[in-house]
């Protein structure tokens, strides 16, 4: 739920990083915190256990620029990766404007990715939010590891696409970030499907972190336009 404050001329939006445990959600926020100008970001708040696992959430506010005289302020949150913290995961989704699913590319984490994705859909549905109708991007993290699954496999497991019901959207829409790939396309069976935008990342080195943030922020602002 974005908030437009005419008095301070700010548009505030909430973005949540979701995904399996140890997938790199907190690392994404730490990289953003470390690389943006100090005057464009607030404090990084972490509610974590003694072993640095996120207990409730991490939080970082960042300013991404000005549009029509309004400062665009994004509140970035992560959720705990562990399923047993589901109650707090769900709380963080309240009023969300955009979602980043941080998937772990490692082959052996495929099941954990799928479980987290299903859990995301379920928790969103409980709030009456439809993930397929709101700003949503996927980040495939840890692309540098030797046991990383091919993108094709990750896409078919986590981002197979949802059916397009609106006939006005039934036209081929190229993926602006991956040449030769489409976000909306028709399957050989005749069915039209749409996929979420995806980004490849190595969050520990910062690679792909800002592409992901820019991708989701742009979708959020366009959803308000």
């Amino acid at each position: 739920m974005s908030m437009i404050n005419y008095a301070s001329r700010e548009i505030n939006c909430k973005i949540v990083y979701y995904g399996p445990g140890l997938g790199g959600k907190t690392t994404n926020l730490e990289v953003v915190y470390g690389k943006v100008q100090p005057d464009t970001r607030g404090k990084l708040i972490s509610l974590a256990t003694e072993t640095e696992r996120t207990l409730f959430f991490d939080f970082l506010p960042v300013d991404l620029g000005t549009i029509r005289g309004f400062k665009t302020r994004f509140h970035l949150y992560t959720v705990p990766g562990q399923v047993y913290y589901n109650a707090s995961r769900k709380l963080i989704l309240k009023g969300v404007d955009g979602i980043v699913f941080v998937g772990d590319s490692q082959l052996e984490r495929m099941e954990a990715n799928q479980e987290a994705m299903q859990n995301l859909y379920d928790n969103m549905a409980e709030y009456g939010y439809d993930l397929t109708k709101m700003p949503f991007v996927i980040q495939y993290n840890k692309r540098d590891l030797p046991n990383a699954s091919p993108i094709r496999d990750l896409q078919s497991a986590l981002n197979p696409g949802w059916e397009v019901a609106d006939s006005s959207k039934m036209r081929i829409t190229p993926d602006p970030y991956h040449a030769g790939e489409n976000l909306v396309e028709q399957l050989p069976t005749g069915e039209w499907i749409e996929r979420a935008q995806y980004f490849e990342a190595v969050a520990v080195t910062g690679e792909g972190v800002f592409d992901t943030l820019k991708g989701v922020s742009k979708l959020v602002l366009k959803s308000l336009a």
Binding site: M3, Y6, L91, Y127, G128, Y129, D130, S217, K218, S223
Partner: protein, 161 residues
């Protein structure tokens, strides 16, 4: 507008009315500072002494505090806790729900008493509830403020180049 992203906005007139209600409240109960935070963690307004802490972080933690306590309430068979009190050695804070969408937080020290704060808070919450219900109903009907980002697609693209 996408499902689940029901936006709301308030005008400078709304802001003025909210500020006036909070300023009266602070004077009446001799508290230091009042903050309004929406349930998703956004800071809506600050009135009174300028906070010495980071108000954005404070707002986020307040919303999380309230949400966590809502869940605790449900576990013990209550629908919610409509107010919370945190007592410190010198500084204390009292939080109350406004119209199920916003949280009023008041910070006070030993220049006043919890009883007085609680008493004045009740009246202020009623007044703010009326004000916010008007803001929300206007947002829900769609006949609200003009969409400032309408047609700004090109500008948004440029921002991310």
């Amino acid at each position: 507008m996408p499902v689940g992203a029901a936006s709301w906005s308030f005008t400078e007139d709304d802001f003025g009315a909210i500020r006036a209600a909070l300023e009266t409240f602070l004077t009446d109960c001799n508290a230091r500072c009042a903050l309004l935070v929406d349930r998703s963690g956004q800071l809506v307004a600050t009135v009174g002494e300028r906070p010495t802490f980071d108000p954005t972080a404070f707002a986020t933690l307040t919303a999380a505090d309230f949400s966590a306590n809502d869940q605790l309430a449900k576990l013990i068979g209550e629908n919610d806790f409509n107010s919370l009190f945190h007592q410190g050695e010198k500084e204390s804070m009292y939080l109350a729900d406004v119209a199920r969408r916003v949280i009023l937080v008041v910070l006070f020290d030993n220049r006043t008493t919890l009883g007085l704060v609680r008493l004045k808070m009740r009246q202020t919450v009623q007044l703010l509830t009326q004000l916010f219900e008007q803001v929300f109903s206007r947002g829900a009907t769609g006949a609200s403020t003009p969409n400032i980002l309408a047609g700004a697609d090109d500008e948004i693209d440029k921002l991310f180049q």
